[in-house]
């Protein structure tokens, strides 16, 4: 069973601080990794993807991939109230689309004014 695990939270972070969200995966051969944000009552929306070991930055967001530890993280700098949502990580085992994306159960993030 290929698994993706996340701490369900809730994670509370003061406005303006850095929020750190983490995810581990069981399949060492996994190729592609994604972070989705889901607002309450809405569908998940893709915010970042990462394929290469290391960091990838996009504005206030940084995705980190550590293949040796089978660990991915999402850092949100200068947190805003609008960042309050559930964050889902997803793993594509092959990178070739032959197997399904596997999602974690999500971490609920609350930004505190």
């Amino acid at each position: 069973q290929k698994e993706v695990e996340q701490n369900s939270g809730p994670l509370s972070v003061p406005e303006g601080a850095i929020a750190s969200l983490n995810c581990t995966y069981s399949d060492r051969g996994s190729q592609s990794f994604f972070w989705y944000r889901q607002y309450s009552g809405k569908s998940p929306e893709l915010i970042m993807f990462i394929y290469s070991n290391g960091d990838k930055e996009d504005g206030r967001f940084t995705a980190q991939l550590n293949r040796a530890s089978q660990y991915i993280s999402l850092l949100i700098r200068d947190s805003k109230l609008s960042d309050s949502a559930t964050y889902l990580c997803a793993v594509d085992p092959t990178g070739f689309g032959n197997e399904k994306l596997t999602f974690g159960t999500g971490t609920r993030l609350t930004i505190i004014p």
Partner: protein, 114 residues
Amino acid sequence: GAGVSQSPSNKVTEKGKDVELRCDPISGHTALYWYRQSLGQGLEFLIYFQGNSAPDKSGLPSDRFSAERTGGSVSTLTIQRTQQEDSAVYLCASSLAPPNTEAFFGQGTRLTVV
């Protein structure tokens, strides 16, 4: 279309009735996924299509659930003899051919079985 389209957006049905949920993926997307999300829960995988074939049906909860995809485009998820535990939001997602496998979601169908 501009995005993944699902219909209906809301469906209330009586226990024991059959329902059909429709997903119209982004044009050109060959991969299509169905997920289910109960209130406050994570995404539960149901089925995955690559083109018209379904290499992974492992998430379908029972034989009351079935799905098909025709023409490599529209997909229909059918639930027969609905039960109250089927109440959830059913989400469809699609993606391009590999390696661009980022999935984009529709707005979902909220199914309520009464």
